[in-house]
Symmetry: C2
Subunit: 108 residues, 2 copies
């Protein structure tokens, strides 16, 4: 068990999307992603996991299962197992996401 603060935990990198883990268990991980303007997570899929992106700050262009949509704070995109998903910060402002995936592929 524990507590976390997504706004204190968030980070950014000039090199690429920055991931900060908030917690993890075998069942799930939960990260904060920080994306500078122009940064992206390329479209990919997880064969056995469900994942969501939830927008905390800024706006991004999300691709899920072949559909593109711009989302802002309070909006969420989710991908079921095998569904392609990705996000791009197409704006001039920073984008901050809460991201959870289940099960956790990094821990059996």
């Amino acid at each position: 068990m524990g507590f976390q603060n997504a706004h204190l935990a968030k980070s950014f990198s000039a090199a690429k999307l920055a991931k900060t883990n908030l917690f993890e268990s075998p069942q799930m991980f939960c990260d904060v992603y920080g994306l500078e303007s122009g940064q992206a997570q390329k479209p990919h899929a997880h064969s056995e996991a469900t994942k969501f992106y939830f927008v905390l700050e800024g706006r991004g262009m999300f691709l899920v299962g072949g559909e593109r949509r711009e989302l802002g704070p309070g909006e969420l995109a989710f991908a079921l197992p095998g569904e392609e998903h990705g996000v791009e910060n197409h704006t001039g402002e920073r984008l901050v996401l809460l991201v959870a995936m289940a099960p956790n592929p990094n821990r059996g």
Copy 2:
């Protein structure tokens, strides 16, 4: 796959904590909880699931694994399998939470 808006989806009930499902799969469910002043989710545990509460609006008193803490927007409490957890809206304002649990006990 799909998209959701937690702020449009949230709901409240004078009778008790209101849960709105944003999406679910066998691996995970994701809900928005709306708690009027004084409403609570009583402490309980899930023997096989990891769960988190993430505060979207308002403030609440969270109990996780024997520790009590007041959390506000951007803060998160998580409980591993078997760990007791609950939340009470001890304030005079509404409390809105993003809640995810993995795996989803409602769907094998």
